[in-house]
């Protein structure tokens, strides 16, 4: 059977995957990060979401969401625009307050867990006047788990200069810059909110490669997107959100075996007929 790590590495290098290949988890882990990875128990939930509800006035944000994320999982948070993906992520991050329910990250409230989470928000969150050098400095200052060498390596791979300011960069370049910083941390949980939203396909591939080659396999990755076809080979599990509720929460393996379709195909089947929309 092809492991997730084999899939990831093969995708990143652009070569096809066959079940006979003998890439070990250790080899991938060795190439993926330079610092010591965390050693979480696979049974302990990294994130526990219970009965989470948040409305915006009369408009529903998310309603009665309950699920757990365990160590080592790559979870796709999928759904059309406005279905509640960003609301859910902000609630997990403690950036929005729930009307009801709770979020626990490794037994702690989100607000005291920021040393455990590397978060990439939907929009760039760095001061546009900063140079890359200054942005890296901020991460060095605040995050003990930040691997500066890895960040510079990624930034060089993305073609970004140390003295370049964020305001002189295109949206795609800013996205790459943010991703390099976020993926250079060594934490149990990565949360990426639409890392490829509004970016051209060539840049999407670079960003995806950046995630795959720098992702710590022992960590949990929650990735929200509506561009499913680009990333579906990454996921261990998918959570489909629809109008603030969980429509489906299954392992990808189980879904493929039962439905015999790609996640993208399933997504279109679930959402498109109702709305007459096409999500590419």
């Amino acid at each position: 059977m092809i492991t997730k790590f084999e899939q990831s590495t093969a995708f990143a290098s652009g070569r096809p995957i066959t079940s006979g290949q003998s890439i070990t988890t250790e080899q991938i882990a060795k190439s993926a990060y330079s610092s010591t990875p965390p050693q979480p128990s696979a049974l302990t939930p990294v994130v526990e979401v219970k009965d989470l509800t948040r409305n915006y006035g009369k408009r529903r944000g998310v309603e009665s969401l309950s699920f757990e994320l365990t160590a080592g999982e790559i979870v796709g948070l999928l759904g059309p625009n406005g279905c509640g993906k960003t609301t859910l992520i902000k609630l997990i991050m403690g950036l929005l307050q729930p009307d009801r329910g709770s979020v626990v990250i490794r037994g702690q409230k989100p607000q005291v867990s920021y040393n455990l989470i590397s978060y990439l928000p939907e929009n760039t969150y760095l001061n546009p006047a900063l140079t890359m050098q200054e942005a890296v400095r901020i991460f060095v200052d605040f995050y003990r788990d930040f691997d500066q060498a890895k960040a510079w390596r990624m930034l060089a791979e993305f073609g970004l200069e140390p003295n370049q300011t964020l305001k002189t960069m295109s949206k795609g370049m800013q996205e790459k810059a943010n991703l390099a910083l976020v993926m250079s941390r060594d934490v149990p949980l990565y949360i990426l909110d639409e890392p490829m939203g509004g970016i051209d396909p060539a840049a999407r591939e670079t960003i995806l490669n950046g995630i795959l080659t720098n992702y710590n396999p022992g960590s949990t990755l929650l990735l929200s997107t509506h561009l499913i076809s680009d990333v579906e080979m990454l996921f261990d599990r998918v959570i489909f959100l629809d109008n603030g509720r969980i429509r489906l929460d299954r392992s990808v393996e189980e879904l493929r075996a039962r439905e015999g379709k790609s996640i993208d195909g399933l997504f279109r089947e679930i959402y498109a007929p109702e709305r007459g929309e096409y999500y590419a």
């Binding site: 915006y56 928000p121 901020i138």
Partner: protein, 308 residues
């Protein structure tokens, strides 16, 4: 971590004002050259601009710290600020100290600017360094000129300078953090403005009540005899002391309440026959109470951030 937060703020401030400082420096230099050498028209023009620039330096610094507070906490940059591994208290006090350092450095620059302006003026008037020294000595000795202890006088100036900053910070942090809270965040920057208007009305009402009814006043007596005899020494003319009396009592005795409330009385009516007036100090206690409430409340708001 607090020091790192302050460093982060100072880095941002530096990025914002890196052009302003050299421009101000050039302006002062041009004042020295044009005003100091008495260049017709141009000297007065650059001097006027430099005076205006120096006057707006401190308000500009306070405004910059307000904008910085809003941007760092409630725009896209808030997603970074609020997910740094620090406590809400550290986030808040980091902003306080960062803004204070900006205020402090701007004050130093403003003082330097004033010195250059005075120097340019005395050079232009051909009184040179001697004239400059005379003006500076006269400014430094202002407490003695009104019969105050110099240490006490300058301590009062320092306290006022500090109070302006703390009160301004407490007000804008309270208004922004309350106005961007869940209930009001749909109004965007209108939320803080709504909070400020409500706060202003409440402060005016409570301030007036505290001014009239709080039993702590500064009693002012003016010696009309000393004025009539031509004395100019403030110490002879004006007597002050702190009393624990409600100011409204004296207003009532003078007939300033009821229909006459808000009407001016002639000084002779107030101060004749060892007369006095009590200035209510309760308003300062209200302001102090607001600063303390603002610090506690705003820190709590930051712990329950709601970025829509």
């Amino acid at each position: 971590m607090l020091s790192k937060l302050i460093k982060l703020d100072l880095r941002d401030y530096r990025a914002k004002v890196k052009w302003a400082l050299p421009i101000y420096g050039l302006l002062l230099l041009s004042v020295l050259l044009t005003k100091g050498l008495s260049v017709p028209y141009l000297g007065g023009f650059t001097y006027g601009i430099a005076v205006v620039a120096t006057i707006i330096l401190l308000p500009a610094a306070l405004l910059l710290s307000l904008i910085h507070y809003y941007r760092h906490f409630y725009t896209n940059q808030g997603y970074l600020t609020h997910t740094l591994p620090v406590t809400p208290g550290q986030r808040y006090y980091g902003k306080l100290v960062g803004a204070f350092l900006l205020y402090f450095l701007t004050s130093l620059i403003a003082i330097f600017g004033v010195l250059i302006l005075v120097l340019a003026k005395t050079l232009g008037e051909r009184t040179g360094l001697a004239g400059f020294g005379t003006i500076i000595r006269s400014v430094v000795s202002w407490p003695q000129q009104i019969g105050l202890n110099p240490v006490l006088g300058w301590l009062l100036v320092f306290a006022l300078w500090l109070f302006i900053f703390i009160y301004f910070f407490a007000t804008y942090s309270f208004c922004i953090s309350s106005g961007m809270s869940r209930r009001l965040s749909r109004f965007s920057f209108g939320g803080p403005i709504i909070v400020y208007i409500i706060l202003y009305i409440i402060q005016q009402i409570i301030g007036l009540l505290a001014f009239l009814f709080f039993p702590l006043s500064l009693r002012l007596s003016v010696s009309l005899d000393a004025i009539n005899s031509g004395s100019t020494a403030v110490g002879d003319v004006l007597k002050t002391r702190i009393v624990t009396t409600m100011p409204i009592r004296r207003f009532h005795d003078l007939g300033m309440m009821g229909e006459n409330f808000g009407q001016d009385l002639p000084a002779e009516t107030i101060f004749a026959n060892n007369g006095y007036i009590d200035i209510g100090l309760g308003i300062f206690l209200v302001m102090l109470a607001f600063i303390i409430i603002s610090f506690i409340w705003t820190r709590r708001r930051l712990a329950r951030i709601d970025l829509r």
